[in-house]
Symmetry: C2
Subunit: 428 residues, 2 copies
C-alpha cells in the first residue's frame, strides 16, 4: 500500500494527542483511505521536554525549515498557532515547496487565508483547515461537500466553547463571571490567557472563514466584534425572567449582495434550538437553498475533537481528493462589499443603572423616542440601596445606528451610575 | 470544461425538482466541481404527463434499458423507488455497464446494498446514496469524510419526518393521531400510503445503512421494529406529566462487538436535545472516539432537501472522488454478529388499562416482581366511567426480555381492558 509522509510542527496538547492517535490508528486510517499515514518528522520548540510517550530520535527535525525542503515530506501539519510569525512562515514555505498543509490555526487562515490559498492553488496542493473552525463539528467539509448544492444566505451559531461554558455556567449555577472563569481554567475549558476567547476575536476569525466559504468570496475584514466580559449575573437573570438566554453568537449574512459579519452577546428565546446548547459545545447553523436550515453540533475544541478534524483533513489528502481551499478557484472567488452592523435592525435589551430621582424615567423615554427607538417593555427594579434603580428595556426593532446613538446620549447623563448596556436580540 | 452526462430515471416530485435545479444551477455547480453537469436523458413511466416545465423531446429515453447501454451516459440517477423491481434492475445494469449511480432509495440500499456495493467496487464506479438517509442532513458524507477518524460506538436519532411531525403535533396541539395524520397528508408531510413511515420500516432501512457505514460491517438484517400507531394522546400527556416527550427513534449500537439495532417509540427527557427536534426535522447523533458526540440536524425529506443531497452525490462524482460505497473495501468489511433487543436493559413506561376492582393492583405488582422488574413510580388514574382505571408505571432498568415477559403475562389477565403498552425510556 502507498505511504504518505507527514511532518508535525508544534507538539503542544493538540500536537501530542494527534501524534499518538495517528501512531495507534494507522491500520484503521489506511483501511479507509488506501494509503498508510506515516509520521516521518516532528518538530517543536522544546524537544527535550518530558512527554507522555516516546518519539524515536530519528523523527525529530531540528528546524521546520529543514522539513519544508525535505523531498520525502508529503504533508505538513502546522500546530504552532498565531496568525503570523513561525506559523505563517512555515505554511508559506511548505506550500511553495509543494507540500500539502493541514492546519488548526484559525487566526492564520482568517488573516492570510486568501494569500495562502492562492499559493496552494498555484502549486496544486491542498490547504486544509477543518480543525480551525469548531473541531468536532465537521462544518468546513459539510459546506464544501455535503451542502455543495446550496446557495447559502446565512451562517451563524455558537463558535467558542470557553464563552459558552462561562455563560451557561453563570446561568445554571448563578455564579459571577470571575468565579466561573477560574473554574473553567481549572477544568481546562479556558486557557491561562483567555483574552481572544472572551473578547470575541476567536469567534470573529471563524465567522470570517465561514463567510468566505459560504459566499464564495474573499475574506472580508469588516466585522463588528463584542465579547462577553461585560455580561454579569444581573443581565443573565433579567434575560431569564424575560424568557431569554444570553449566548455569544457569530453571524454572517448576505443581504443585497453585501456581507454583514458580527460577533456579540445575543438574547435568544429560551425555547430556541441555540438556547439548548450548553457547556463547551459549539453549533453551526446554515441557511441555504435548497436545503433549508441545516445544523451541526459538537465539541468545539480540545485535543480529541481537534484530532478528529485534523485526521479528516489528512484523509482527504490521502484519498487524493485535491480541491481548492475555499471550494472554488481563487480566480472565481468574488470580492463582495461589506455592510456595517449600524445599518441592520434589531430588537434590543437595554440596561440602565440610574440614580433614583424625579424625572429620570421621563428623560430616558424621551431620549429613546428622539432616535425613533420605541419601547416594547420596561421594567424598573429598585436597587438594594433604594437610592438607585436598574431599568431594563426591551425595544421594538430599530436601526442599530439609532440604538447606538440612544446609548451614547444616555451614557452622558449625570443620572447614570454605570455605562448603559445594549444586548441585541435574535428572533429565530 | 469537461462535461459529465447524467440520466435521470423517475420523474416524480423529487425527480422533477432535481431536473429543474440542475438545469438552473449548471454554472454554480461547475464552478465548484470544474465539470459541467449535463442532463442527457430522462426516463419516466408516463412521459406524456403534464409537467410544470418543458423537457426537450430529444432528452426523453423510451426505456431505462437503453440508457444503461448508452456509451454517452456517465451517471444514472435512480429515483424510481422500491427495494426491488425496476429500481433494482436499473441500478444493477447501470453499475455493470460502468455507470456511476446516485440513488435516493433507502429500501434498495438497506436490502441489496452489499450486493450493489460489490458490483460498484468491481466496476470501479461510484454508488452514492446520501439522499437515501435524511436528505437535508449530510450524514453519509460526514461519516465517510468529516468524521472518518472516528471509531463509532452508537448512532441514533430521529430519522422519519412524518412520524416526528405527527408525534410533535399531537403533543403541541393536543390532537388525536388520526386527525393529525389527515392534516399531515393535506400538508404533504405524509404520503397517501404512509404505512412504511408509521410502522417504523422507513427508519429501519436508515438504521441498517448507518450501522453498516458506522461499524464497517455488512448490512445486518436483525432489527427490532415498532412504529407509532399505538401511541395515543393519553400516552403523550402521561409522558408530559412525568417530564418526558415521546419520539420515534432509531438506534444502532456496537456492544461487545455485536450490533444491536432497534426502532421504537421512546420516552426521552424534555430537557434533552432530541426532545427539542419537532415537526418534520430529522436529527442524527453519532457517538465516536475521538470526536465525542456529534449531531447533525436538518429537514429529512421533501424535494428540496433531497435535491441538496443528490447534488452533493453528483458533485462528489464530478470531482472524481471515487470511493467505496461503504467507506472501506468490501473485502475488508466485517460480518458482525447481532444482538437481540431482549438482552438489553431499559427503564420503561408501562400503561395498563384495567377494570377497577379489588386485588388488581396487588396482582400487577406481583407480576412485575416475579420477573424482577422493580417499579420506580406508579400512578393510578380513574377513568371517566369510574369502573376502569389507567395505571402508569415507570420501571427501574430491567432486562428487556423480562419487561416483555411481564407484559405478556399481564395481557392475559381478565382485568385488562386493553392490550398493555410498553414504551422504552432512553436516558441521555
Amino acid at each position: 500500500m502507498k505511504k504518505i509522509n507527514i511532518a508535525i510542527v508544534g507538539l503542544g496538547t493538540i500536537g501530542s494527542y494527534f501524534y499518538n492517535f495517528i501512531s495507534k490508528n494507522k491500520d484503521a486510517i489506511s483501511k479507509k483511505t488506501n494509503v498508510i499515514p506515516n509520521i516521518i518528522y516532528v518538530c517543536a520548540r522544546n524537544p527535550k521536554k518530558k512527554r507522555l510517550f516516546k518519539i524515536p530520535k530519528k523523527k525529530w527535525a531540528k528546524k521546520y525549515t529543514d522539513i519544508v525542503k525535505d523531498k520525502n515530506v508529503d504533508v505538513v501539519v502546522e500546530l504552532i498557532g498565531g496568525s503570523d510569525g513561525a506559523a505563517k512562515d512555515l505554511v508559506i514555505k511548505a506550500l511553495l515547496n509543494k507540500k500539502h498543509v493541514v492546519t488548526a490555526n484559525k487566526a492564520l487562515i482568517a488573516k492570510h487565508g486568501d494569500k495562502l490559498s492562492k499559493i496552494a492553488e498555484e502549486k496544486k496542493v491542498n490547504l486544509e483547515y477543518e480543525a480551525a473552525v469548531c473541531g468536532g463539528v465537521p462544518i468546513i467539509r459539510s459546506i464544501k461537500e455535503g451542502l455543495i448544492a446550496n446557495k447559502i444566505q446565512k451562517v451563524y451559531g455558537i463558535f467558542n466553547g470557553t464563552s459558552n461554558y462561562i455563560l451557561s455556567s453563570m446561568d445554571q449555577n448563578k455564579l459571577q463571571f470571575k468565579n466561573v472563569l477560574i473554574k473553567a481554567q481549572r477544568l481546562g475549558y479556558a486557557e491561562n490567557n483567555p483574552e481572544s476567547d472572551l473578547n470575541g476575536e476567536d469567534v470573529a476569525s471563524k465567522v470570517q472563514i465561514l463567510s468566505s466559504l459560504s459566499f464564495n468570496s474573499f475574506i472580508n475584514k469588516n466585522i463588528h466584534i463584542e465579547g462577553i466580559k461585560n455580561i454579569d449575573m444581573d443581565d443573565i437573570s433579567n434575560a431569564d425572567k424575560l424568557g431569554y438566554k444570553i449566548k455569544l453568537l457569530g453571524f454572517s449574512e448576505l443581504i443585497n449582495n453585501k456581507i454583514y459579519q458580527r460577533v456579540h452577546p445575543t438574547l435568544i428565546n429560551k425555547s430556541s434550538y441555540i438556547a439548548s446548547i450548553n457547556g463547551v459545545l459549539n453549533a453551526v447553523i446554515v441557511n441555504g437553498l435548497p436545503v433549508g436550515k441545516s445544523v451541526i453540533q459538537g465539541e468545539g475544541a480540545g485535543p480529541s475533537a481537534t484530532t478528529s478534524a485534523l485526521i479528516s483533513d489528512v484523509s482527504s489528502i490521502l484519498r487524493g481528493n485535491i480541491k481548492y481551499p475555499f471550494v472554488i478557484s481563487n480566480k472565481k472567488r468574488k470580492k463582495l462589499h461589506s455592510g456595517n452592523i449600524s445599518k441592520l435592525s434589531f430588537s434590543a435589551y437595554v440596561r440602565l443603572d440610574v440614580k433614583d430621582k424625579h424625572g429620570v424615567l421621563s428623560n430616558i423615554t424621551k431620549t429613546f423616542s428622539r432616535f425613533k427607538v420605541s419601547i416594547k417593555r420596561l421594567i424598573q427594579n429598585p436597587a438594594k440601596s433604594k437610592k438607585n434603580s436598574s431599568i431594563v428595556i426591551i425595544t421594538h426593532r430599530a436601526l442599530d445606528l439609532n440604538l447606538q446613538k440612544t446609548l451614547k446620549i444616555l451614557s452622558k447623563k449625570n443620572y447614570m451610575i454605570k455605562k448603559p448596556k445594549l444586548i441585541r436580540i435574535e428572533n429565530n
